[in-house]
């Protein structure tokens, strides 16, 4: 299934990278072209998510779970792929639910920042996949001086896990407060 996975990943990569350019253009422009591009954003992100989930599903079939989850590069690739897919899902949901309101005020810059972050996650995911099949870019060399050796599994200690859970709870509370405010 490795070959099919490689074929399939080109679709979400292309669609999400295009979406990143669209978001950045819309963030800096209110002109007619930017508005036209923005109207294509939800379909673009939807296709990206669908093709991303398809590539993810086929990726899980490349190796048995026992193999994939025992290999540092396999673990890292899967972790980044999961986060990337969830992350672009978040962008789709937000644009879909909020409509053009996401371009109001500070929110447009948050969306632009998220798109850049999503592209970075996508790039790292692709690089890790390249390592698994023996063809990879130098992105991993750039990550090394930044503190992550890609040949080691990305995991965090318990105290960070607890912080993540606490942060998630606070974020949900913020969301509920916001809904109450606008209800």
């Amino acid at each position: 299934m490795a070959a099919y996975h490689v074929v399939l990943v080109h679709f979400p990569i292309a669609l999400w990278m295009t979406a990143t350019l669209a978001i950045l253009w819309r963030a800096i422009s209110d002109g007619p072209l930017a508005l036209a591009i923005d109207r294509a954003l939800v379909p673009l992100l939807s296709l990206g998510l669908i093709s991303g989930l398809a590539a993810y599903g086929v990726g899980l079939l490349v190796w048995p779970w026992e193999t994939l989850s025992a290999t540092p590069l396999g673990r890292n690739h899967m972790l980044l792929a999961t986060w990337t897919t969830a992350y672009w899902g978040l962008l789709l949901a937000t644009r879909w639910l909020q409509g053009e309101a996401v371009w109001n005020g500070v929110m447009r810059w948050i969306i632009a920042g998220l798109a850049v972050l999503g592209s970075v996650l996508l790039g790292i995911t692709g690089t890790l996949g390249g390592h698994l099949v023996g063809i990879y870019t130098e992105i991993s060399d750039a990550l090394r001086p930044m503190g992550w050796e890609v040949y080691r599994t990305f995991y965090v200690p318990d105290v960070t896990l607890a912080t993540i859970v606490a942060a998630a709870v606070v974020l949900v509370v913020i969301g509920l407060l916001g809904r109450r405010r606008t209800a």
């Binding site: 190796w63 972790l79 992550w148 599994t153 965090v156 405010r181």
Partner: protein
Amino acid sequence: MNKNRLLYVSALIFVGTLGLAWLTQGTGVIRNDAERNISIPSPLTVPLEVKAAYNGSDIFLRYRWAAPKPGIFHDVLRFTNGAWVVRGSAVPGSQSDGLHEDRVSMMLDDGSVPEFGRYGGYVTIGQRLAGMTGEASGRDVKEHPYLGKKLGLDEPTKYLPATRKGLEDWMAVVPEAEQDRLRAAGYFIDLWHWRAHRSNPVGYADDQFVAAGRLSDSGRGPFATNWDAERKQPRLMLDRAKTGRAALKWDDILQGRVGQDDVYYLREDQAVPFDPNAGWQEGDTIPRRSLRAPQGSRGDVGVAGHSRWAEGYWDVALRRKMNTEKPTEDKILRDGGVYQVAFAIHRQASGGRWHYVSLPFTLGLGRDAEIKALRFEGDTPDWRQPAVAVTLFYPGQVNWPLLNSAKHAGAESIRKGVPVKYRHSEAQLAHYGVEKEFAEEIHRQWLFTLGGGVLLIVAFGVALNGALGRKGG
């Protein structure tokens, strides 16, 4: 709180938590644990320089590697509270008193073990070998009818895969007749084993090989154990007439006051039978190993010139006859031949599996190879050729059954014969070795991290959309 403030706070929490995850990733799991035989060296990779030369009758190898201190001592017997106590026994990682000798070793094959040329020493590592977490007991090995009673092994050591009925069970050896047939066909790996304490002072390296176990060539080895178990005292002590002392002083050893030019060893020609009434004092120390010139095939590998430590580096040169006339114990080398070699060093008072190893290299005698042995005339090479840089790495507990199992994504590549160098660097293998020592813990922590990240992303989505309200509220 207004909408913008909620958005700012949400973004700050999200980015801050991601930043914390980035800064703390890879921590909290990997730590030394003596109970599990885990001790991670630092750094994980070190360089080794290698040169080779031959003159038609002898082959010479020269090794140079960094060692912060010269590890010239091994285990000793210290007079403590009226009794002789062993100090410097092997421990996971560095021995705290610095009492474990430095070593360099070289595996050598002529193509008779094809996997060795592709995967190096990994092919010799089975499960539960000495020093691994969950190591097999030495008693089981001693009682094994072939490994213990026939071969004399007393701990689970390196072995070659075809000497076993399967990869998973180190005890399930093939019948003795098959072992002999394999050996006769050259199915063994030659092992040159230079030891800074147990062989260098008498001008030799230990000549061994790996087949059903790590075995010694026929003949007498360069060292013996200096211990009289019945009387609980050393067998020998230094000859005061020849060395000026009957024993060393413990404090002198620890403080580095005994150097390479001093008598730091117990050579049998400089020793006398132990005298329990010699007025022993607290801290008197006698080496636990007595040294003598090896005999037979075991003494085939000699030191070429002086092998010494200076200014932070060991410089060791060894020589051996190209044809030792022991084809079932040594690899016979021929002019124009290409062979496979792999290296290892022990340093910083580490023994056992806490060493650095290399990937396999080719060694050509007058032939193009990764390490080209230059032909010279005379008895001593001038060593003017440039050295070949070899990267050594800490291999952890990665073993051949693991590499051929479903837990290794490259198992299929091994079955296809893809060489390890094609897919892995030494640095990558070192990290892999460390991670495998904490496989279960890292797997669990990775799963939690994966889930935690998804949770954070979803929560951030809830916060963003809640703050904005319906259609931007």
